[in-house]
């Protein structure tokens, strides 16, 4: 059956996809039954805790663990000496989870203990003696790029970095085409501005947690909250010298990740402790540890230059982006340089990115990593140019918008994309023309994310009772089990309730890429549909066998095998349940599976509109109204698509207005808690309105595009543009916290 050849994108009428069923994991999550990372225990379990460096930069001369080991109840102590040599690609990860010869940031792990109780473990930490030689440190990206800056790692800059620059610069990226100088010469107005953005944390409410056990035979089990348990298995196996087959990792329910749980922190340490103690070890981070030692994305410093003609045509765009990625090379500046001009069809464009290290925690991915900051800077300058030239902000964006076939600033030509559809929808929406009051401003910005595919495996069993069990390997971070269940049911033609989707452990399926890049609904969905088609082919074959006709003369429709051609109408259709019930007599159990490195993830664009009010007395900003317009390709479960739009917008609002890592002159993080690192709360916000645009992705059987990340890309700029309009002065630093807004208003008034 040539199911793949159907021109289904334009004609398919869905029965389940596009509806809003209740998620299969819902009841567990509203009753407290769902088991997250810290909710598991094991017989004989020990408590593991980590000792962390109080210094931003220090040589470790020695670690004396004797007193801690002698404390009754302590069963194991580990330091970097307990890990052997690892391959080059794992060395930074190892040295991040356990400092090697230097502590590189406040909060860097230097030792860990496992003890019979938390109180014993705490006392043991206090007994570990670390001999530090404190070194000069640097936390600011521009400072870290200076030639006289303290150097974190000697000799790690690669060949892309020009000679004579700071050793803290790891890599230089460059994207673009055309001749930007010629473009600027052709402009009527050229504007250059500099921006800074503070580091922010993903801020998932669930701290990192895991439970590890390992026998003397090297067989190990690990339970943890992660966005990718296959990644955890492969990384931990590499760090501990285990065979991947001997380490079984089970993903717990995950309490938020946003990219921050795409690497390992506690997991290899817990395994090392469990190996040494011969008992299961549970480790759970405190919030202080989460802020000091995991996650944040880069703080940045960015210069943007854009030329525009009087009619709004952008003649050239140039960007110089400097992102520090913490203590090891990991800033997302490459994506920032690739994404910052993606919304514009430009003849002349150049974006340069500098990947810099500094004495801060190693950056982890954060929702559309790198894109929000560069986009903030570009969209701020476009906005200011529109203001200077007296042009409508949406019209200018429409005039210059990337369209189908546009050569993207980062190289490839776009396929089918929905940017102009989001802009047209924003233009037609009542929000865009609603009146504003005093001290209020409206901001507009566009955003883009690539979306990924990657390695994916699913397995689908047709059970004898006519129900279906679907196993997939990607932790469900926002309702993906519902989406997979819907796509399986849609393709098979059976009710949603007949399918149950499970996140399988690492022993059950082949490699699955991490839940990242907005890939899951696209890639796992694609594999689910292909697995269903395989099962359908088998079921059609079974019906053919029963009817005694040729396999090719059977087709699948509405959950039934039906005879076709000359046999049409000769046999009553057989339902999935009827075929399943007799499977044993027609050849054995029926299953479908699909393994793929999924390609064809369609990019997603969004346009955001926001109204803000600035209190000129205090500098405080209130968000009054917010509307998201984003291309979802095809919204499988619209409520969870809206949820992604809303959640990303609000994280972006927090980034724009309040959230920041604040370091003291001693290089210590001053606000490692939710009181002082202020994420948005319910009373800060209005309802977040959403408009789902559906421009189908030709790379997916149902047209699905990833939606999870694009939503955080426009809000930094949209809010900055609204606040700048409301305050009557252009703000160029994030967060736009009350003191900064007040300072800008006062400076403009002088």
């Amino acid at each position: 059956m040539a199911l793949d050849d159907k021109p289904e994108l334009e004609v398919r009428v869905f029965k389940i996809v596009g509806s809003r069923p209740i998620r299969p994991d819902g009841i567990d999550k509203v009753t407290g039954r769902a088991r997250f990372g810290a909710d598991m225990s094991a017989p004989g379990m020990l408590v593991g805790l980590v000792l962390r460096s109080p210094h931003a930069h220090a040589r470790i001369r020695g670690i004396d663990t004797a007193k801690a080991e002698a404390l009754p109840g302590v069963k194991a102590v580990v330091t970097s000496a307990d890990f052997g040599e690892v391959s080059d690609d794992l060395r930074d990860i190892l040295h991040n989870v356990m400092a090697h010869d230097k502590a590189l940031y406040d909060g860097h792990a230097v030792a860990a203990v496992a003890a019979s109780s938390a109180s014993v473990a705490k006392r043991a930490l206090a007994l570990i003696e670390v001999d530090y030689e404190v070194l000069p440190h640097v936390t600011d990206v521009d400072e870290a790029m200076k030639l006289d800056a303290p150097v974190l790692h000697e000799g790690r800059s690669d060949e892309t970095v020009p000679a004579g620059m700071s050793a803290n610069i790891m890599h230089r990226f460059e994207y673009g085409h055309g001749d930007v100088e010629a473009g600027f010469a052709a402009a009527d107005e050229v504007l250059e501005r500099s921006f800074k953005t503070a580091a922010t944390h993903q801020g998932y409410i669930e701290p990192h947690a895991c439970l590890a056990s390992m026998g003397p035979d090297g067989q190990a089990d690990l339970w943890c909250c992660t966005q990718g348990h296959y990644m955890v298995r492969n990384t931990c196996a590499g760090l501990l010298g285990l065979d991947a087959s001997q380490l079984k990792v089970t993903a717990s329910e995950i309490g938020g990740g946003f990219g921050g749980k795409t690497t390992v922190f506690l997991e290899p340490v817990a395994l090392a402790l469990a190996r040494k103690a011969g008992r299961p070890v549970k480790m759970v981070m405190s919030r202080d540890e989460v802020f000091r030692a995991t996650g944040p994305t880069s703080s940045t410093s960015i210069d943007i230059k854009i030329g525009m003609k009087r009619d709004g045509t952008i003649t050239a765009g140039w960007a110089d982006l400097r992102y520090q990625g913490g203590a090891f090379q990991s800033s997302p500046v490459q994506f920032g340089a690739m994404a910052c001009f993606a919304a514009y069809d430009l003849a002349n464009v150049q974006a340069i990115g500098w990947d810099v290290v500094a004495n801060r925690p190693k950056a982890a991915a954060y929702r559309a990593p790198g894109a929000p900051m560069g986009t903030y800077a570009v969209e701020s300058v476009v906005d200011e140019l529109c203001e200077k030239l007296g042009l409508d902000r949406l019209e200018v964006r429409l005039k210059n918008a990337s369209r189908d076939g546009t050569k993207a600033a980062y190289g490839p030509r776009f396929g089918r994309i929905g940017l102009t559809a989001t802009l047209e929808a924003a233009k037609a929406h009542p929000h865009y023309t609603a009146p504003l009051g005093p001290n209020q401003g409206r901001g507009v910005a566009c955003g883009f994310w690539f979306n990924f595919g990657g390695d994916t495996c699913v397995s689908m069993s047709i059970n004898n009772d006519g129900t279906v069990s679907l196993s997939e390997g990607n932790p469900d971070i926002g309702g993906s089990r519902a989406a997979m269940t819907m796509m399986a049911a849609e393709e098979l033609g059976i009710p949603y309730e007949r399918v149950r989707t499970t996140i399988a452990d690492t022993s059950a399926l082949g490699q699955n890429e991490v839940t990242d890049g907005s890939r899951v609904t696209f890639a796992v969905g694609l594999a689910t549909i292909k697995a269903a088609r395989e099962a359908i082919t088998i079921m059609c074959g079974r019906a053919a066998k029963i009817w005694g006709i040729d396999e090719d003369a059977v087709f699948w429709e509405d959950g039934h095998a039906k005879p076709a051609g000359p046999n049409a109408g000769k046999f009553p259709p057989m339902s999935l349940a009827e075929i399943a019930a007799v499977a044993s007599n027609t050849g054995g159990p029926i299953a479908g599976h699909h393994e793929v490195n999924a390609e064809g993830a369609g990019v997603s664009f969004a346009t955001h509109l926001v109204d803000a009010e600035v209190d000129p007395e205090t500098g405080a900003v209130k968000i009054l109204r917010y509307t998201v317009f984003q291309d979802a390709g095809k919204a499988v479960h619209p409520a969870y698509v809206e949820g992604q739009f809303q959640g990303g917008a609000v994280q972006g609002i927090g980034w724009a207005l309040n959230e920041e890592y604040i370091y003291g002159p001693d290089g210590r993080l001053q606000n490692p808690g939710f009181l002082d690192y202020r994420i948005p709360v319910a009373s800060d916000l209005p309802m977040i309105d959403t408009v789902i645009i559906e421009v189908p992705n030709p790379g997916h059987p149902y047209g699905v595009r990833g939606v999870g990340e694009t939503s955080i890309v426009p809000p930094l700029a949209a809010v900055a543009n609204a606040v700048s309009a409301a305050a009557g002065v252009r703000l160029t630093e994030l967060p736009m916290s009350p003191p900064k807004v007040l300072e800008a208003i006062d400076a403009a008034g002088d």
């Binding site: 809003r20 209740i22 998620r23 994991d25 819902g26 009841i27 999550k29 509203v30 009753t31 407290g32 039954r33 769902a34 088991r35 997250f36 810290a38 909710d39 225990s41 938390a118 109180s119 993903q202 801020g203 998932y204 409410i205 669930e206 701290p207 329910e253 995950i254 309490g255 938020g256 990740g257 946003f258 759970v284 405190s286 919030r287 971070i477 926002g478 309702g479 479960h637 409520a639 969870y640 809206e642 949820g643 809303q646 959640g647 917008a649 609000v650 994280q651 808690g673 939710f674 009181l675 994420i679 948005p680 709360v681 319910a682 009373s683 800060d684 916000l685 309802m687 977040i688």
Partner: protein
């Protein structure tokens, strides 16, 4: 270390436990009684994921000692549904897709129930301010606020 004997009532059941003096009520619920529905998001009272009620009053169980539960009546998320029947708030959270990852959900449900006990007809602003002590990083709160308002309406009609 000497442990303290505590007699209390949790979700209507008489419960006795031993705990160390410094253990929080949240530690006791999660680590000694296996009631892991209340979550530890911060241990400083900022996130609300550990919300329970003590004698009907909404508290962060990370800010109260286990020993202080002596003689009190504690209600947790595990006691919210009546057997198979979900509380209207639980049902509305499902219908409105008011959770994504679900880690904040138990605390928000407990807090919202406490709100509706006091104020069966809250405005959107009242819901937003009451829930300002419960952090959610996934949803942007939109669907949570709608679910609470809808549940309140249904409960008023019941």
């Amino acid at each position: 270390m000497t442990q303290i004997h505590v007699s209390t009532k949790i979700n209507g059941d008489a419960v006795e436990f031993l705990c160390e003096a410094q253990e929080t009520l949240l530690d006791v619920l999660r680590d000694r009684l296996d009631l892991t529905g209340a979550k530890e998001g911060c241990s400083t009272g900022d996130c609300g994921a550990c919300s329970v009620t003590v004698d009907g009053r909404l508290v962060c169980s990370c800010l109260m000692l286990g020993a202080e539960a002596e003689g009190r009546e504690i209600a947790t998320i595990e006691g919210m549904a009546a057997g198979e029947v979900l509380h209207p708030l639980q049902q509305k959270f499902l219908e409105h897709a008011a959770l994504q990852c679900g880690i904040c959900t138990p605390g928000i449900l407990v807090a919202a129930e406490a709100l509706l006990e006091k104020n069966p007809d809250p405005t959107e602003t009242e819901v937003r301010y009451w829930l300002a002590g419960n952090l959610c990083r996934c949803t942007g709160y939109d669907k949570i606020v709608r679910a609470v308002m809808d549940a309140a309406e249904q409960m008023r009609g019941a």
